[in-house]
Amino acid sequence: MPEGSTGGSRPETTPGSATAIPKNNKRRNLMELYPFPLPITPIYLPSITNNPLSWLVAGYAYWTAFPKLALFSDESRANQPSLTPVNCEYEYISSAIIFKVTSPSGMITLWRSGFFGKGSLSRSDPSWSTRTARRVMGVGTVLTSEEITNLRRQERMGFKNARDRVQQMELELRRLMSQETTPEKIIKERTAVLEAEKTKLAELRADLQKKPVKLATTPIDEEIREEDLQLVHPVTGELTQLEYLQLMPCEAVFLTLIGCLKVPALPTSWSVLQMVVSGSANCEELIRCIVYHHYRSLGWCVRSGIKFGTDFLLYKGGPPFTHAEHGIIIMQNQKGCRNTRWVDISGTARVVGGVKKNMIIAFVDVPEQDAYAKVVDGKEHDEVKLGVLYGLYKVTEVGYRRWVPSRNRE
């Protein structure tokens, strides 16, 4: 893997990164790092005017741009999206199918241009090898987002423990004060100590709220485990790459459709789709593909919402730019499907509302099984079929928000 391409140069992805970059700058850096919303490279051509000279210029530009259309996977351009479809394998995990991208350049291409997939051993972008290299071999200085999360959690835990201690002291003091035999002096002493502790606690709290996470100057203090040693090649000393980029089935279908992904043995997006759906018009995976396609087509970055119990999360730019704004849950016009109990909707809405996102119910009108079967068994070309099939479904959305009459009163 080329040095620095796996995530070593990704300080901007993290909110509290080491070097404090001014906000505008940071935004610009992000734009530079993630210029394309899809893994498609636009080729900018000079405009053609009445001046015959511009025709020549344009002609030349076409000529030179043409070879780029069939870019080879050039290592030096690894972080540039290319029109060469990324290779992807699939396998079954009991009843589920998973799509894997293992080539480092493919992983980078798909992540950097539209935030597709998820590192199998990372929270979002595949940063496992960077993290592990530092942890095991002490290489690299920039914190990945997972490391920052961990540090934050540790800080919060420290704060909570301190808070518990102060509460204990307070209780103890109150007990002493209620006993008349307690000498005045002891109460005074204890009160002073308690006040000092409280001040410290307040400082801790303030720190938690504003302080960016400090860059650990030394490798994070953890023992090297036996499990880690097995990762390092005994001769070359290189780290085994355990991580791959996993695509959701709906991502695999979408990326194949736009020509950015190639699954050996599954030549078209239609054949990829057939691998993941059950054959009934209201198959949940099919509906997911349609809803995914719907929001991707409208320019949203769509990612899994499992952490918040939703089907998808919608990001305006992508995870490094902003937090997700909307949580999508899917509902169909069919009986006995998921998300039809008020209790469930209410619960999900609480979770989504709790992390300050909107909850959107994507309501999907599912066609009759006959209409579905007609398209599936039809004679159209595979690539056309997918469009025709998707055309049978209609997605509308409804926003849902918890409203408490006694609180949300104007």
């Binding site: 396998e91 009991s94 589920a96 592990t132 919060r156 518990d164 953890e222 355990l242 899994s304």
Partner: protein, 115 residues
């Protein structure tokens, strides 16, 4: 072909930094047993101390889970521990995007931990 248990085990060892993770083969499925990292990053208070023998139940997000299944797993683990049911197992749920989310599943009614 990789098994669900292998994927969850890899996630435990190389993402969550558990050690000594081993398969425990039960009649119906394979669960895992291992030790969480000592400087645990788990957002718990002191009341939830994780042992070095935590049981993890690998699950697929699309699979059906019944009370009987869970009950059976507690029972089978108990058989290997002189009849003592573990106080909890940790459900490791693999999602279609490769995320594994972990949930404590306590046997019976549990008191929530302080946060």
């Amino acid at each position: 072909m990789t098994s669900l248990a292998e994927i969850v085990a890899t996630n435990l060892v190389h993402y969550n930094l558990w050690t000594a993770v081993e398969d425990v083969v039960l009649s119906s499925r394979t669960v895992l047993c291992g030790a969480p990292p000592p400087t645990s990053v788990i957002a718990t208070d002191s009341s939830t101390v994780l042992s070095d023998q935590e049981y993890v139940l690998p699950l697929l997000v699309s699979e059906k889970l019944t009370l009987a299944t869970l009950d059976g797993i507690f029972r089978e683990i108990a058989e290997r521990r002189a009849g003592v049911r573990p106080e909890k197992v940790i459900g490791g749920i693999l999602n279609t995007d490769g995320t594994v989310v972990y949930y404590f599943i306590w046997d019976g009614v549990a008191k929530p931990r302080k946060n």
